[in-house]
């Protein structure tokens, strides 16, 4: 069992330091949902809805974006250079200390 610490800043600016298992095949969207943070995960994790849009605030080197993720962020709103879809970030041991902020959800 391997646990890392991840910090999620919610839309109100409150920080949540969470314990995240790296051996459960979980991604950041699912982690947020498991702690009942306000992330819908509407499409279930297929990079098709952008409801788990988040900004990476720490300087971790994350795996590159797939084409699916890029195209979804393409039609999302409030996109910044550090935007990612949480469902495409699979928790791994080298992500200890990762800090992300949840993006606004559009109308």
């Amino acid at each position: 069992m391997s646990i890392i610490k991840v910090t999620i800043v919610d839309r109100d600016g409150t920080s949540h330091e969470l314990e995240a298992p790296t051996d459960m095949g979980m991604n950041m969207m699912e982690l947020c949902k498991s702690y009942e943070l306000p992330v819908e995960g509407t499409c279930g994790g297929m990079a098709m809805c952008a409801s788990c849009h988040m900004y990476i605030q720490s300087d971790h080197e994350l795996p590159e974006m797939s084409e699916d993720e890029e195209s979804m962020l393409d039609s999302a709103f409030f996109v910044e250079d550090n935007s990612r879809l949480g469902c495409q970030i699979h928790l791994a041991d080298d992500m200890d200390g990762l800090t992300v902020k949840l993006a606004e959800v559009g109308d």
């Binding site: 098709m48 195209s71 709103f77 559009g106």
Partner: protein, 334 residues
């Protein structure tokens, strides 16, 4: 007016399977869906994605699942109202419901089954402050009739296929001027369409702005221009129409006003029969919630099966019914 036994709102896998289970009880069904084809999200968003947790199907493409369900329910001759959104509901004195769509189609049934996942798919609206003031006054999220743009100046936002295709179409002799605005430098649409748009921009047939975004709308009553944010700063473009094409996202929509108990965007149900707080209205599949709820197609199938038993008792309170097996009795359609 369309009359049926069970009016199903949402023609996704769970809504479709309801027709089968209802048909075994000799109940007729009619489905309403905001999308133009049956299948819901499976058909609209991920028809080519495999699903691995449908019992007895080690792997099935979402689109094939829908095709199979359509074949399975064919004997029960369901009716469809497609491309329309269920908007209003009224209860009649004799315990029926009248459901009217946004296009005015009227349906009547003693039982309503809401199987609409997260609601209906609606266009994604960009976060521009005064957007709502200009809806249908120069801002359109869907191009219904291209002739509407004849001789007009049009700004299209988005970088996907629909934005590319409409840019090409409107620029070929329809609109007087077409500007395409896309946030990035690359496009995710079909390579042929992308090349065509780039060629048209090169030839001066369209005005292409990349790494740019519409951030404001100008106009008194109708759109007169848009404010575009680019790397160099903000720029105003005069236009008659702005068409943001950012795809669809699910919205609970008018169902939220149907006096149903709703918690976290889902309809609360009793797991005995998936009934809501309004007798005669049931909610099945991803749109409902109850302790232990899992949003899985297979759970929706189970919910649909139990739900139609309760619907039968509501429609025929005096008839006795005993569960029959299809293996013994076959499937006797209408």
């Amino acid at each position: 007016m369309i009359e049926t036994d069970i009016l199903i709102i949402g023609a996704g896998p769970v809504g479709l399977f309801t027709v089968f289970e209802a048909g075994l009880l000799k109940l007729r069904c009619h489905l309403i869906d905001a999308l133009p084809q049956p299948g819901g999200q499976c058909a609209e968003i991920y028809p080519k994605k495999p699903i691995y947790d449908i019992p007895a199907f080690p792997e099935v493409l979402a689109g094939d699942l829908v095709d199979n369900l359509m074949r399975q329910i064919e004997p029960f001759k369901p009716g469809f109202t497609l491309g329309e959104r269920a908007d209003q509901i009224e209860e009649t004195e004799d315990g029926h419901f009248i459901v009217t769509t946004n296009r005015g189609t009227v349906h009547k049934a003693p039982v309503i089954a809401i199987a609409a996942r997260l609601g209906s798919f609606e266009p994604r609206k960009p976060p521009v402050p005064n957007l709502a003031d200009f809806e249908d006054k120069g801002v359109e999220y869907i191009i219904k009739d291209p002739n509407f743009y004849k001789g007009k100046k049009v700004v299209i936002s988005g970088g996907g296929d629909s934005a590319l295709d409409w840019t090409i179409f409107l620029a070929e002799g329809v609109a007087s001027e077409v500007t395409m605005i896309h946030r990035r430098n690359s496009f995710r649409g079909h390579p042929d369409s992308v090349q065509k748009v780039l060629d048209m921009a090169g030839a001066g047939k369209i005005n292409l702005m990349t790494e740019a975004e519409v951030v404001g709308i100008d106009g008194d009553v109708h759109v007169e221009g848009v404010v575009v944010k680019t790397k160099e700063g903000e720029k105003k473009i005069s236009t008659d129409h702005w068409v943001p094409l950012f795809g669809l996202s699910p919205k609970l929509g008018p169902i939220a006003d149907w006096k149903l108990n709703i918690s976290k965007n889902a309809i609360e149900v009793n797991t005995f029969d998936y009934s809501t707080n309004v007798p005669g209205i049931y909610a099945i599949g991803d749109i409902n919630t109850y302790p232990g709820k899992l949003k899985l197609i297979l759970c929706g199938f189970h919910e649909a099966t139990l739900m139609v038993q309760s619907a039968f008792k509501r429609i025929y309170p005096d008839k006795n019914y005993v569960l029959k097996y299809t293996t013994v009795n076959g499937v006797n359609g209408f």
